[in-house]
């Protein structure tokens, strides 16, 4: 029962490099989210998706791109990494419909940009 799996768990990048974080869920959830967590700022929504082939911007979308080509996967891309993108990234998913549906989170991915 994997739930939400994020890869990689840790990554160190140099400024200007690109990378992709992969989120995979096996619960047939419609909704998927990417958050970043920084000290003193809680979790801030980067992008989210309400279904396969759809994406939407959250609170802090600049510098990130996402894709949802398959229902079970939600990719977060950094085209040109900056030190300000050093953070812990969380993916989450939920079923559609009632807003009471709880988000299931992945374990997080720590990204350091030098």
């Amino acid at each position: 029962n994997a739930g939400v799996t994020q890869t990689p768990k840790f990554r160190v990048l140099k400024t200007g490099q690109s990378m992709t974080l992969l989120c995979a869920q096996d619960m047939n959830h419609e909704y998927m989210y990417w958050y970043r967590q920084d000290p003193g700022m809680g979790l801030r929504l980067i992008h989210y998706s309400v279904g396969e082939g759809t994406t939407a911007k959250g609170e802090v979308p600049d510098g990130y791109n996402v894709s949802r080509l398959k229902k079970q996967n939600f990719l977060l891309g950094l085209e040109s990494a900056a030190p300000s993108q050093t953070s812990v990234y969380f993916c989450a998913s939920s079923s559609q419909g009632s807003g009471a549906n709880v988000l299931t989170f992945g374990a997080g991915s720590r990204l350091t940009v030098l």
């Binding site: 003193g40 700022m41 809680g42 979790l43 929504l45 989450a92 009471a100 988000l103 374990a107 997080g108």
Partner: protein, 111 residues
């Protein structure tokens, strides 16, 4: 845009005592959902309790209960009989379309 505010960056409680964590939010919607999540040092996000805005009755889950004041847009979490394992970051969250979180409150439990 909806915002969630947690005004207490840190709180401390003695083991077996009661502590209340505060949360306020801003919204123009009438039907929405509120949550408290716990994040221990393992970094895993764990749901503590949730409240539907259309329900007047406050939610409870064992030692955890909320005080939901819809008109005041307030959603506080009360932890009774605090245990060492309750030590963690606690995040208040609001959901209407997407899910927005507050900045968190770090709870320390003293033995």
């Amino acid at each position: 845009a909806q915002t969630v505010t947690q005004s207490q960056p840190e709180m401390s409680v003695q083991e077996a005592e009661t502590v209340t964590l505060s949360c306020t939010y801003d919204t123009s919607e009438s039907d929405y959902y509120l949550f408290w999540y716990k994040q221990p040092p393992s970094r895993q996000m764990i749901l503590v309790i949730r409240q539907e805005a259309y329900k007047q009755q406050n939610a409870t889950e064992n030692r955890f209960s909320v005080n939901f004041q819809k008109a005041a847009k307030s959603f506080s979490l009360k932890i009774s009989d605090s245990q060492l394992g309750d030590a963690a970051m606690y995040f208040c969250a609001y959901r209407w379309n997407d899910m927005r979180f507050g900045a968190g409150t770090r709870l320390t439990v003293k033995p």
